[in-house]
Amino acid sequence: MTRPILLTMAAAGILAAGQDDSFLIRGATIHPVSGPAVENASLLVLDGKIAEIGLKIQNKAAQGKNKIRIVEAKGLHVYPGFIDSGSPVGLQEVSSVRETIDTGELGMFNPQLKAISAVNPESEHIPVIRGNGTTMVQILPGVAGGQGQTGIIGGQASIIRLSGYTWEEMLAVPYTALQAVWPVPSQGGRGGFDPSMLVPGARRQSSFSQANRAKEENIQKLTEFIEQARRYQAAKKAGPVPADRKFEAMLPVLEGVKPLLVEAARERAIREAVEWSEKQKIRIILTGVTRPGKMIEELGKKRIPVILGSPYSIRMEEDDPYDDPFTLPARLHQAGVEFAFASFGLQFARNLPFQAGQAVAFGLPYDAALKSITMTPARIWGLADSHGSIEPGKVADLILTDGDPLEPRSSVKMMFIQGREVDLESRHTRLYRKYMDRP
């Protein structure tokens, strides 16, 4: 364990040297995302915030600061840092080692759990993820169920910046949404006909009616839980009640302040979740949407945001088009559905910008793709005033690249989080150098 610690000390060295969070980038192509790119422009950051963008900087304060750092960025491109709308980073380290997994508490309803409370700032994944331009991640507590129960509400998602010694320093938003999974009928087994299999396993564990009954029961339990929380809310208004962390955590959801981040992959689950949320007057954001079918138009009309996972997957049904997962972003865009990308992963979270790039290759307009990892998630998670684009007054979460960051061949040359430069060293770069140097 000495090596990671040494590295962190090295990274810390840069920050701890009292380096200013003010600087001037010169000669770069600036991509504000909120507007068209400006070539050969300058960008002034003062005290961690974007102060000015333009061909010539007017700011007197900057001119007065004679020791302001100048970043010569000729040939480089400046983008806002990317936002990953869902990942277990910081809560998981090695997926096959139980001790390093902190997601997925047991139980049906765990709204009181806070993802931020378990973040490991030393995670080796964090520098790796930064390497391709991600500066912020919504961390998910996970939904597990267990002991014969179906997990429904997993806990509170939080947003962290990928820089800081402690979780407090990393914390951007403690409670963005409540992570939930919409119950689906699960028959077990593989089902269908797989003639190549002669060994057991294909057989369904239960009939569809049984599975569907279990699903209805689970939805009923969710509704009852919401009703209990409403009674708690009413009782609390009337007078003092014994505090209950579960119901306390539900209050922002009942008040419409926080959304329910509901996982629903297929059309039926999406329809049920949407109808249920309308009846319950609960704001939802859908996640894990893979095969929305006719619900695409509904989601556009009802303005329900969607969090998309990795498009690097095969189609859900045998006869779906081969590119069904690849074209989903374009189809959502066409229907006017607001969506953001999430990696939903750990070691592959670094591919977030390429997820958006893949969607461009399959019909999504480039601007929409870039927004889906910058402005759109910032808006969905209530950070529109401070993040997601390069505009005066916003937090200076920036990346400098040598090309289009949605292209795997481009590399991120510099990164700033809250105006402070972040080391782009990671386990990958260390190993790269180690083996390049091998005699």
């Binding site: 009928p185 089902g191 006909f193 003639p195 190549s196 002669l198 060994v199 294909a202 057989r203 006869d319």
Partner: protein, 470 residues
């Protein structure tokens, strides 16, 4: 049992099971329509049964003096129907005790586990543990006239079954059995017709648990058996100075099988087991065939016979209404019932089995569907009479109405493939049986293939129509 008291046959059938000695040994059915399967249909002919065998048949045959004569006017005589891959005759454990894996065939497996040394699931480390290798189990030793399923089988016109013990990788030796008899022994037509093999691990835990493991195990087992036989004969020739070879129950009984029964649900598996049979130097018969419509050329080239499951794949009854079936699945449902027609056109011998059937009658219904899709009635009838007899080398005894063959006959009041047709009487080894007026349900659940979309009594698991064969 309920018998039709108005029937002229009351005298004989009442005594049928209890005392065969009272049955007249000479019976003639005259003026009946006779479908001999081999040879052309005779519209008005007489069949003479003597001492359990067919003595004479034809339009000019006449009832011998002293024969008990039955008026066959309006009746059609078929050879007794044969189930080519069955468990009929082997009593199934009551309440169909579900196996550990929840899969079918619990009955036979329960019997087998009783036969085994008490251990429920012995741990297998390798081939030397002979996992699930029940070569010493013989259907001929297990069949009983008391099997509660026999009445239903007879009521549908079945007189004979190629019955195989199930459980483990090698279930044991199958037997050709008649579906009635005074004793189990009297039911047996041929005690050793083939070795039943599967690719479904069962009756042990551990090795082998994969397709490649099982393929490798079978090859090793045959090598071991060859060495065992050599060592034994060397020892028998001269025991002096040679350590005696250890007795091995599994290898001791891995002999005397005229053929091996191997599962071949689809072409890929067919190629695998075909090669395996070649390596084992055994004559293969393929059962559990689901995609026969894609297998005709390979089967023709290999000169091999197949036994089809008699439940054509269909959508599960209790399935997700929003589930979309893949084109591959739809094609399979569409084409599987055409398998008989396609195999017949290619000249591949095929037989039907109760595997997958809910009730014995379902075998005939499955064939009727294939007839509607273009299979000739003659080929359909052959697949449950002469072809299974030929596949198992019993064509001299069973499968057609010819003098000298066993008097297994199904006498019906119409065409076999007409759903309204009823079995009026049966002759098994020349003994007359009259089915109960109401065809009984198959008690204790259907064969190992499971009921169509239904649920096995005492089982928590639903059945899928598109179940994989065992």
């Amino acid at each position: 049992m309920l018998f039709n008291l108005r029937s002229a046959a009351t005298l004989f059938c009442a005594a049928a099971l209890a005392a065969q000695a009272e049955v007249p040994s000479l019976v003639a059915i005259r003026d009946a329509r006779v479908v001999p399967v081999k040879g052309s249909v005779m519209e008005k002919a007489t069949v003479v049964i003597r001492d359990g065998l067919i003595a004479d048949v034809g339009p000019s045959a006449s009832p011998p003096a002293g024969a008990f004569v039955i008026d066959g006017t309006g009746l059609t005589i078929y050879p007794g129907l044969i189930d080519a891959y069955s468990t009929w005759g082997i009593p199934q454990a009551t309440a169909a005790a579900p196996t550990a894996t929840g899969r079918g065939g619990g009955g036979t497996q329960a019997i087998l586990s009783a036969l085994q040394t008490g251990q429920q699931a012995p741990r297998s480390q390798g081939p030397e543990d002979r996992p699930g290798t029940n070569t010493w189990v013989r259907a001929a030793d297990l069949v009983r006239p008391s099997d509660t399923r026999l009445e239903a089988a007879r009521s549908s016109g079945f007189t004979t079954a190629m019955t195989f013990p199930r459980g483990g990788l090698i279930g044991g030796h199958g037997a050709a059995v008649n579906l009635a008899g005074a004793t189990g022994g009297a039911m047996v037509v041929e005690p050793s017709i083939g070795l039943q093999m599967t690719f479904t691990p069962g009756g042990y835990s551990g090795f082998p648990n994969t397709q490649m493991g099982i393929l490798s195990y079978f090859r090793q087992l045959w090598l071991d058996a060859a060495h065992y036989a050599q060592a034994k004969s060397a020892y028998a020739a001269n025991a002096s100075g040679i350590r005696r070879p250890d007795y091995d129950r599994a290898l001791e009984h891995l002999a005397g099988y005229p053929r091996v029964l191997l599962p071949a649900p689809n072409p890929i598996q067919l190629e695998r087991v075909l090669k395996l049979a070649g390596d084992l130097k055994a004559t293969p018969v393929f059962y559990g065939v689901q995609e026969g419509y894609r297998m005709a050329p390979v089967l023709k080239q290999a000169n091999a016979a197949v036994i089809l499951n008699s439940r054509w794949p269909a959508r599960e009854r209790d399935s997700d209404p929003e589930q979309q079936d893949s084109l591959r699945t739809l094609e399979m449902r569409d084409m599987a019932p055409q398998s008989p027609k396609i195999l017949a056109a290619a000249g591949v011998p095929f037989a039907m089995s109760s595997e997958g059937a809910g009730a014995p009658r379902d075998i005939i219904r499955a064939l009727k569907k294939s007839i509607d899709l273009g299979l000739s009635k003659e080929d359909a009838l052959k697949s449950i009479t002469l072809t299974p007899a030929e596949i198992f080398g019993l064509a001299a005894k069973l499968g057609s109405i010819e003098p000298g063959k066993i008097a297994n006959l199904a006498v019906m009041d119409g065409d076999l493939f007409d759903d309204r047709t009823k079995v009026r009487m049966l002759f098994i080894d020349g003994v007359k049986y009259v089915p109960a007026p109401q065809a009984p349900q198959m008690p204790g659940g259907p064969g190992p293939g499971g009921p169509p979309g239904g649920q096995r009594p005492g089982s928590q698991t639903g059945e899928t129509d598109e179940e994989i064969i065992r």
